[in-house]
């Protein structure tokens, strides 16, 4: 392992580590634009110059591998002067339109210019003008004048998605990023080019002009879009609600996790949060009275649901849980079922259209917690439950989240099953055709409104955290189920998702010994703890 000295501090790094990463390990930042740890080295922006002892001139750190005994200086006068010159060069044709640029506040041109700017520009010639506000595809829009030609987006499309849509056309000061005429940037991961664009050249069509980034708050979360469980940050707009017509979730951004999604997320996940602030969100419990579903108080709804579960014998009761529910919810549900001795439980619902899958991140299973539901023991044949309902053997059915009328089963058969049930209970975030048939509708908090964990397809348990308040009277499923459990005569002390998780760890061996602390920000594999091994 090569041992080198950077700014007087010694560090040992893995063979092949470049000087930017070696410095990063010492908390020394080497400014850069084109280098990205997930992409090949281009050496394009020239900003990462450092001084290496015995080298005649500053050298780019991104393309220099650390060697044993190397002595590197990142703050010499020569290096600082070089950075200043390179910043000047990058800004020659930059429009300096920060006041109207969506990147402002998270722009590396701004950030580095504060530190390394010339502040007294010498450029007197007119700037080269290039195309502005060019939509590249469904999600990304280009301002070629702001581009510094770092080529990260080009390399992303070449190396990560292997779709090769983008190129740098023309040359010299007329060079610009673009698409082959007539083509679109419409691959499944196109939004990532916005994340890796260090400047305001590529911005997000969905997010742009919604809110200034400095008004955003962030929470660490997990994408609920498929079984991969990509690590994300949820960016919410709480401080300027009038800027986005009440849309609280501003955007989702990938959060690095070496074991799961690295730096990336897919577009389906990135833009899949629309339901959170959609008009179809359920804001209070509903009870069917004649032909209408009318709002009722939570106490009434809980009493009604507990009453139905008590009135119907367990053999006549069925539950269709959801692999979109968190582990905490599923375990709370498990306890409710055990309390009543209900055994007819399923969670898997065949989708109307089979999910797409690829080799990068996207999984065919569009549920974030199928593995968790299996481990908690809620597996069972959903089709058999529906058949039993049709045959009037199940009289009370509680459905979580699913729209069974929009699933991969004949709609008429499902409708017959739901119609034959005496008491239909439906829990979930957004109203749908199935919830419209229910006697009791219980509004669930969306995943961004609460804490919880999902278990991804590999068995990695990962935490997501509340980013916004619960909408209206919506509650997390674990809380609804805890109240039902209390109403069924088994009071629970669990007042937070974390309490349910601790109970889960005590009861289900795969989760033994796990806590929110041990899961941390990067997750923990089921069965990985000593307690689990013993159990």
């Amino acid at each position: 392992m090569p041992k080198l000295t950077i700014d007087g501090k010694e560090i040992e790094v893995a063979p092949g580590t470049n000087l930017i990463e070696a410095a990063r390990a010492l908390d020394i930042e080497v400014p850069h634009y084109c280098y990205h740890p997930g992409l090949s080295v281009a050496g394009q922006c020239r900003l990462c110059m450092v001084d290496i002892e015995k080298a005649p001139r500053p050298t780019i750190a991104c393309n220099t591998v650390a060697t044993d005994g190397m002595v590197v200086w990142t703050q010499t006068e020569r290096v600082l002067e070089t950075r200043k010159s390179i910043m000047e060069f990058h800004l020659i044709n930059h429009p300096l339109d920060c006041p109207v640029c969506d990147q402002a506040g998270e722009c590396w041109l701004q950030i580095y210019y504060m530190k390394h700017g010339l502040y007294d520009p010498r450029m007197v010639d007119e700037k080269v003008h290039k195309p502005k506000a060019v939509p590249l595809g469904p999600h990304v829009i280009l301002d070629a004048e702001r581009c510094i030609l770092c080529s990260r987006c080009v390399r992303f499309c070449d190396e990560v998605t292997a779709t090769g849509e983008l190129g740098i056309f023309d040359r010299g000061d007329r060079s610009e990023i673009g698409l082959f005429p007539g083509r679109e940037l419409d691959n499944k991961y196109s939004g990532n080019v916005v994340d890796i664009c260090p400047v305001g050249a590529l911005t997000d069509r969905d997010f742009r002009f919604q809110v200034r980034v400095w008004y955003l708050d962030a929470a660490k979360s997990i994408c609920p879009g498929c079984a991969r469980g990509c690590n994300i940050e949820v960016h919410v707009n709480r401080r300027r609600p009038h800027h986005a017509q009440g849309r609280r979730v501003a955007r989702l951004k990938p959060r690095f996790n070496a074991a799961v999604n690295k730096w990336w997320i897919c577009d389906d996940g990135r833009y899949g949060f629309g339901f959170v602030d959609d008009g179809s969100r359920l804001r209070s419990p509903l009870q069917r009275e004649g032909g209408q579903q009318l709002p009722v108080a939570w106490d009434e709804a809980i009493a009604g649901v507990a009453g139905a579960l008590t009135a119907h014998p367990p053999a006549e009761t069925g539950v269709i849980a959801s692999p979109k529910m968190a582990n905490e919810d599923l375990f709370a549900l498990r306890r409710v079922l055990d309390r009543r001795g209900v055994t007819q439980v399923g969670f898997a619902v065949r989708p109307r259209v089979p999910g797409d899958e690829d080799k990068l991140l996207i999984r065919a299973d569009k549920n974030p917690n199928t593995r968790g539901a299996e481990l908690i023991g809620l597996g069972g044949d959903t089709a058999a439950i529906l058949a039993a309902a049709r045959a009037r053997r199940i009289r009370c059915l509680w459905i979580f989240g699913h729209d069974l009328l929009d699933a991969g089963w004949p709609e008429a058969e499902t409708r017959a099953a739901l119609g034959a049930v005496e008491t239909l209970i439906w829990s979930g975030t957004n109203a749908n055709a199935t919830s419209a048939l229910a006697r009791w509708v219980l509004p669930s908090a969306a995943w961004v409104e609460r804490d919880g964990t999902f278990t991804n397809f590999e068995g990695r348990v990962q935490r997501f955290r509340a980013a916004v308040d619960q909408l209206g009277e919506a509650l997390p499923d674990w809380e609804i189920l805890g109240r039902v459990l209390t109403a069924l005569g088994e009071p629970t002390l669990a007042a937070r998702a974390e309490h349910w998780f601790r109970e889960l760890g005590r009861s289900v061996p795969a989760f033994a010994g796990m806590t929110y602390q041990s899961i941390g920000d990067t997750g923990q594999m089921v069965g990985a703890t000593r307690e689990a091994a013993r159990a």
Partner: protein, 161 residues
């Protein structure tokens, strides 16, 4: 080039493409000579030609477009049967290139970058072609013409059919 027939090299040129590609560790290195072949065969490098060539290299058309837009010797629009490129750099300028250029424009009836109505000649003005000892000079298709005078230019233009 017919508009209906699918655009493609004849078999012997295709063989030449494969020979060129095999010469290099990374076959993309053969892109420049193949683009020149394509320009000769199809007249100019249209977007359709770029897509065809991209297919030969298993590249995306965007990356072929990068190369075509980078180099000045690839024509992205139809060009004349002959290309006349006069040097406008320092030595030629001092030796009277502006006068020669004016003469060329008058004789051909076109501005720089344009093609004569009969499709015979495209006129260009270019940077140094490394023949300062014979300034003023110009390139006509693949050959250099030296020590230009208006009379000499007339004779050269007459030879272009």
């Amino acid at each position: 080039m017919s508009l209906t027939a699918p655009l493609a090299f004849p078999p012997e040129q295709l063989a030449e493409v494969h020979r060129l590609q095999a010469l290099y560790p990374d076959r993309r290195a053969a892109l420049l000579p193949v683009l020149h072949m394509a320009q000769d065969a199809f007249g100019y490098i249209s977007l359709e030609v770029e897509e065809y060539v991209a297919g030969l290299f298993d590249m995306t058309p965007a990356h072929v477009h990068e190369v075509v837009t980078f180099y000045t010797m690839f024509f992205q629009r139809p060009k004349g049967r002959h290309v006349v490129a006069i040097c406008h750099n320092l030595s030629c300028h001092l030796a009277g290139a502006p006068r020669i250029l004016t003469h060329l424009k008058e004789r051909l009836g076109v501005e720089v970058g344009e093609t004569t109505d009969d499709g015979r000649v495209t006129l260009l003005s270019v940077e140094c072609l490394c023949a300062c000892e014979h300034a003023p000079m110009m390139q006509v298709d693949d050959r250099y013409e030296f020590d230009l005078t208006p009379a000499r230019v007339d004779r050269i233009l007459e030879g272009l059919r």
